[in-house]
Amino acid sequence: MPARSEIERSDSVPEPSDSVLVRFRRGDLDAFESLFRLHQRSVYGWILRIVRDPAAAEDLTVETFWRIHRAHDRFESARPFEPWARRIATRAALDWLRARRPESELTDQDVADLPSKSAADPGIAAEIRLKTAQAFARLPPNLRIAAVLSLIEEQPHREVAAALGISVGAVKLRVSRAIRLLRKDLLKQGITP
């Protein structure tokens, strides 16, 4: 399994040249396409981590780049593009989670279909895994995003905070609340974590 630092290196995208960013800010469609080609994969990957549904992640990547294009004149070309795009992507994913019914039809197959880094531990019963996934899906969306990025994807708190537009302290608080609610839900179902 690759180390976390290797994963982070493979995720990072080289920043586009200043001229592309300046042209994008002016509304140049070619510059926008260059940025899209450069960041499509990383934006998709970030959204997939949050929504955990490949088809929805593709739709939300389109939605994100549409929002990015709409906000081109608000982009500060002196700042890096990727964190800005990631923040817009996080907001689009949050809107999607809010619009979706909690734990709607989440099955073991959905969990198995996700392109993942590692296989599930056979020592943990499939039923417990499914109930945990369903309990997780019942968490309020803002807690779920903080927890999925921090606990499951092990993203640094600083990056999660930047993507959510909140402080590092607020991220820690949300993660802690998510764990508390999750434990309560699992206990109610007779699972002692």
Binding site: F36, G45, P54, V62, F65, W66, P115, E154, L182, P193
Partner: protein
Amino acid sequence: MKKHDDDRIKQLLQQSLPPVDPAAEPSRDLWPAVLGRLDAESVRSATAPGPLRQNWFDWALLAGLVVFAFSFPATIPVFLYYL
């Protein structure tokens, strides 16, 4: 103890919802869909009625009704009857 419990929850979560493969990519090129979305939006904004003007007219109408009601309060029941 709390740290241990939190680590247990984290482990359970990672087993239930395994971390996403960092090499995951969209199954298709999404650029045509982005272009389609931009085109659809430009058509929609070109054909949509002017929301600002409509908004202004609504407010003016409401203000007129309020002024009228204050000036002639006896007409309020008549208005309500015809609503």
